[in-house]
Symmetry: C2
Subunit: 258 residues, 2 copies
DNA sequence: CGGGAAGTTGAAGAGCGTCAAAAGTAGTGG
DNA sequence: CCACTACTTTTGACGCTCTTCAACTTCCCG
């Protein structure tokens, strides 16, 4: 379904929705896929040489998730960290009455699980069929001591995520619905470009409801805003959850709040 | 004004509002204040022993800011990192038309300047009279290579800030005005407690406008919400920007979205 | 005291949410 | 291949929370 998923065709297909961490049973091991990993140049592993990659190799497990499969839930013991290798993962927090805020969408190359607490502070779930590599947190700590480069890289990742989070706060607190949607389209497009994938039309694997919960809006408002942007000929819907950005400059001006 | 400022009475008082980084001219050097620093147990420096603190000593400069003094502006070259030793600093981003989102308030012990970009991604300004120590970013990089403990500590700081940012996204995107205000009161109270200061009544050095720009609300809505919480006898205003939390459990329930 | 900023309160309005229904899309199985 | 179902998306009407605009009050600090 997702073009991101294609590169993971060699992975063992997984069953339907399952209990948390059940994905573990589906994990398996290949001989030396790390140095051939298509997302390595994008990820934290990039800071390691071939020798060090072999250390990594012994520690990681590969998983695949179907659309909608949970990866972990907020409050679970945070025993693992992850690296996304294919597909799209959403990370979210819930309020007791069900209100949901999506903290971010993770794409191939993205790291998941940075935290100092021993429980996950959020839930994670597959937006589309996805693949990840998983590593016990304990082993990561050992690795960080052994390879300072990795620690430096992780600090960079954290700093970068922090900057993204700050942009998102500006969006959530101060932007209008139109500005929010424009910002998100450009952001997803940019991230696809960074990964070397098509950035226009931009592929949006998530539902309207996901988009709303990411932008602090309802599905209805998201839908209406898309209709409005379509009417202004700033975007055009294409089949397969693809949106063509017809007027990039205008979208950027809107996104930045002019 | 601020009780946080008292411990900095030995610092050279600074003049009124000044151009960016002009604070540099007011900086000065003491012999060995690092190991006597009252906020060291709270800050990144905590990971260093006495020897290492002397390295630090040679690198840092101390500044003091008056209320309203800018520390730096978004887009400036990010040449320094900072550690807050007294007072309160607000960090914010602006949209072109003046809409403002406050990213966070920094209190003694807080670190400022984590970033990989070579320009500050936000502006920083003193909420109340404040003191900081400042270090050239270049020197920090050297220090990080020399003292892995420091790097680890910084990664912890970054992870922690990331978790706080994620909570703030939930607040901004999905909480009501009442929930936002209750959340902030509890948060500021908790942070004061962590620093070993009075947590109830909680000292709120920032203006209603600052609070609004932190919570994604207007000053009027903040004011009305305070009035409402007062009417429900959940809080009581005391003189000197202090708010007594009269019903902690109820406030916590509200803040968490029940 | 007195002047200016910050805070409070009121009335009116807008943007987005809520509720409801229709239209589109995808997956399933005969 | 088409019908059936279930879900997602779109659209409409209405309502509510929060904003806007404005006046008034309180609080500081000189």
């Amino acid at each position: 379904m997702s073009d991101l998923g294609k590169r993971d065709a060699f992975l063992k297909p997984s069953a339907g929705s399952e209990p948390l961490e059940a994905a573990q049973s589906r994990s398996f091991h290949l001989e030396s896929p790390c140095h051939a990993c298509p997302v390595r140049p994008l990820s934290v592993c990039n800071s390691l040489d071939l020798d060090e990659l072999q250390h990594l190799e012994r520690i990681i497990t590969r998983l695949s998730l179907d659309q909608g499969d949970p990866l972990f839930d907020e409050g679970e013991p945070a025993n693992h960290v992850f690296n996304v290798t294919g597909g799209c993962i959403k990370v979210y927090k819930l309020l007791p009455d069900g209100r949901r805020q999506i903290i971010g969408f993770l794409f191939p190359g993205d790291f998941l699980g940075l935290a100092i607490t021993d429980e996950y502070a959020y839930s994670a779930e597959a937006v589309s069929a996805s693949s990840l590599c998983r590593m016990p947190r304990r082993d990561l700590d050992v690795l960080l001591d052994r390879f300072p480069k990795l620690e430096k890289q992780l600090l960079n990742v954290a700093s970068n995520e922090l900057a993204i989070a700050q942009d998102q706060m500006l969006l959530l607190g101060r932007k209008t619905a139109k500005e929010k949607v424009a910002s998100m389209l450009l952001m997803v497009s940019k991230r696809a470009r960074d990964r070397g994938q098509t950035d226009n039309p931009v592929f949006m694997p998530m539902t309207r409801s996901d988009i709303g919960d990411y932008l602090g809006l309802t599905t209805e408002t998201v839908s209406r805003t898309f209709t409005q942007l379509k009417g202004d000929e700033l975007i055009a819907m294409e089949r397969g959850n693809r949106i063509s950005l017809a007027n990039l400059e205008a979208l950027e001006e809107i996104a930045e709040g002019y």
